[in-house]
């Protein structure tokens, strides 16, 4: 096994995205910790420009799989492109951005090449130079706790990194362009699903991304029949109402109100989270808000870690008083 670390870059519209840069940053940091070098892989069809862009970073090589069947994502095609190359190179780690695409195919790739699998890390520390000295952090129990995890046994480990955990600004630039190398064996690319289409969810409905103030509700609100006081607060603040996923799944609010990784990503001036615990899937959709207020009866709820102001109480005990105070302050 080599000490090198491969970064598999998920492109966006054929370009090296922020997530791809974060993947390179993580691979560079991991490689430095175990005395190896970072390499990158670019998959797609007509991805020469992305490969050239990636080659400007401090990488030992940029591997390219350019194939018509890689134009769109299917697990069979992506695994078929990567597996032979990874079997041959045997890197210590293969780094992916933790996305809805990679969570689907990275485990299958791990199985295919007999690798270990470490999903959704938020960072790592090391007190030595070998792989066993690495301690990886990842969220567990809906982000309420953090686990420290170490790798056991021999062979490649596939790692995925939580969005934002490794800064795209920290990517090291190379002194000379990295060599671009086509992957030798593309014979195993076989899409095993027939893509029928893409559907936009509620594309022409509520656009929360333009809202300056959002009042968002979570499961802690208690039911669809308990939204009245929430609407009162939203009206007083001039806010739109959003929700976390469990509220949508329970049918308390329509899906176009969903904020989070499978809903809308918002960044309002003021975000008021009512009865939202703050699972990571929700946080990624609102953490760029300027000011976050959290009201939750559980003082250990992860939402308090990203909030600026918090009240630890049952939402319904606070709502009438809060609405009244807002109205008084605004003079309405």
């Amino acid at each position: 096994m080599s000490n090198n670390v491969w970064a598999v870059l998920q492109l966006r519209d054929g370009q090296v995205s922020r997530a791809a840069l974060e993947t390179i940053a993580a691979a560079q940091k991991l490689a430095a910790a175990i005395g190896g070098q970072a390499e990158a892989v670019v998959l797609g069809s007509g991805v020469g420009a992305a490969a050239t862009s990636a080659a400007g970073r401090d990488l030992a090589a940029v591997h390219v799989a350019d194939h018509a069947d890689l134009a769109g994502y299917t697990p069979g095609a992506f695994i078929g492109a990567l597996a032979p190359a990874l079997r041959a190179a045997q890197p210590a780690f293969v780094v992916f951005a933790h996305t809805y695409q990679t969570v689907e195919y990275a485990p299958r790739l791990a199985h295919e090449i007999g690798a270990g699998l470490l999903p959704q890390i938020t960072g790592f520390t090391s007190d030595g130079s070998d792989i066993g000295a690495l301690l990886f952090a990842r969220p567990i129990l809906g982000g309420k706790l953090q686990a420290k995890v170490k790798v056991r046994g021999e062979g490649t480990v596939i790692v995925s990194i939580q969005s934002g955990a490794f800064s795209s600004d920290s990517v090291a630039t190379g002194s000379a362009a990295a060599p671009i190398q086509p992957l030798a064996d593309l014979s195993q690319i076989k899409p095993e699903r027939e893509i029928l289409g893409i559907e936009e969810v509620g594309g022409d409905q509520i656009d929360l991304t333009k809202s300056e103030v959002i009042v968002a509700v979570g499961r802690g609100i208690g039911g669809a029949d308990k939204l009245g006081p929430v609407e009162d607060l939203a009206k007083a603040l001039g806010a739109e109402i959003g929700a976390s996923r469990p509220v949508i799944d329970s049918g308390w609010l329509p899906r176009d109100r969903q904020i989070g990784s499978s809903g809308q990503t918002v960044a309002p001036k003021l975000y008021v989270a009512l009865g939202i615990s703050g699972a990571i899937q929700h946080l990624v959709g609102m953490k760029a808000s300027t000011c976050v207020v959290a009201i939750n009866k559980d003082p250990g709820a992860p939402i308090f870690a990203v909030a600026n102001y918090g009240i630890v109480a049952d939402v319904h005990e606070v709502l009438p008083a809060l609405t009244a105070a807002v109205k008084a302050a605004k003079g309405v």
Binding site: A147, K150, I195, C291, A307, G310, I311
Partner: protein, 264 residues
């Protein structure tokens, strides 16, 4: 169709959690356990398919004794029987070790379809179903929010979530492993009759030896990951907590939003 549904029993995440004395996991004493959320949707999807095709659902789970309660609940809502992978050697397994054991159990019968949840609410690897598909050599799909069985069970039309509010729709061949996302359906509740009837339905206990797996292939010994410690995230960077009764805290909050944050 004969459908296997893999479920996991997890701590109730709404509960107040404590770190165990050895620091390696949470203290499970006095904790309540529930069936993992997305697995409940997978079970409902399996029951709907079994009903529509005059088939049956076999519910499969791996874990300690307490898991029997989760299996009984699944039998109460309509699963025909249960496979309980129960062996001290299974403890501490990562997704790779757990998928290996599940695959060995599922291979003992001829299933037409395997359903799982997309992600567990405890460790949250989100990988077990995909790894299981690798062992079985079947196609798979993750984060599925729409599933239609076609051509009498030869193919399925699948809708899966992607980022940014987009869904992808595609067709794949069966048998397959389909990993269900919460929200795909409305899980049913058990009737009194169902609960009574569950006691008569078989729960087959299976250990590693019965699956032809050595102790080094399962549990922590068969894993590439080991959880060394768990902890609550460091506080201090978080929210300014506004104390007092509802009126006091609400007024303090509004004052902060006006004068400090200047957002209202």
């Amino acid at each position: 169709m004969k459908v296997a549904v893999c479920i996991k029993q997890v701590p109730n995440v709404e509960a107040r959690l404590r770190v165990a004395k050895d620091g390696r996991w949470i203290d499970e004493e006095d904790l309540s356990f529930v069936t993992n959320e997305s697995d409940r949707y997978a079970l409902e999807e399996g029951l709907k398919i079994a009903e529509a095709t005059d088939g049956e659902v076999v519910v499969v789970s791996l874990g300690p004794d307490r898991v029997k309660d989760a299996l009984k609940k699944a039998l109460a809502v309509g699963a025909a029987r249960a496979m309980f992978l129960k062996d001290p050697a299974f403890a501490g397994g990562d997704a790779i070790a757990t998928a290996r054991a599940l695959a060995a159990a599922i291979r003992r019968e001829n299933f037409d379809l395997v359903l799982t949840g997309s992600q567990s609410d405890d460790v949250g690897y989100g990988s077990t179903g995909s790894l299981l598909a690798g062992h079985l050599g079947w196609p798979h799909a993750w984060l599925v929010i729409g599933l239609e069985i076609e051509e009498g069970g030869k193919t399925a039309q699948v809708k899966r979530e992607m980022e940014s509010g987009m869904n992808e729709i595609f067709r794949l061949n069966l048998p397959a492993v389909i990993e269900i996302q919460a929200g795909i359906n409305h899980p049913r509740y058990a009737s009194l009759k169902g609960i009574m009837g569950a006691n008569k339905k078989p729960i087959e206990e299976v250990d590693a030896a019965a699956l032809g797996l050595g102790a080094d292939a399962v549990g922590l010994a068969g894993s590439r990951l080991e959880i060394v410690s768990v902890a609550f995230p460091e506080s201090g960077t978080g929210a300014q907590i506004l104390a007092g009764d509802a009126a006091t805290a609400a007024q303090a909050l509004v004052d902060k939003l006006r004068q400090e944050a200047r957002v209202i």
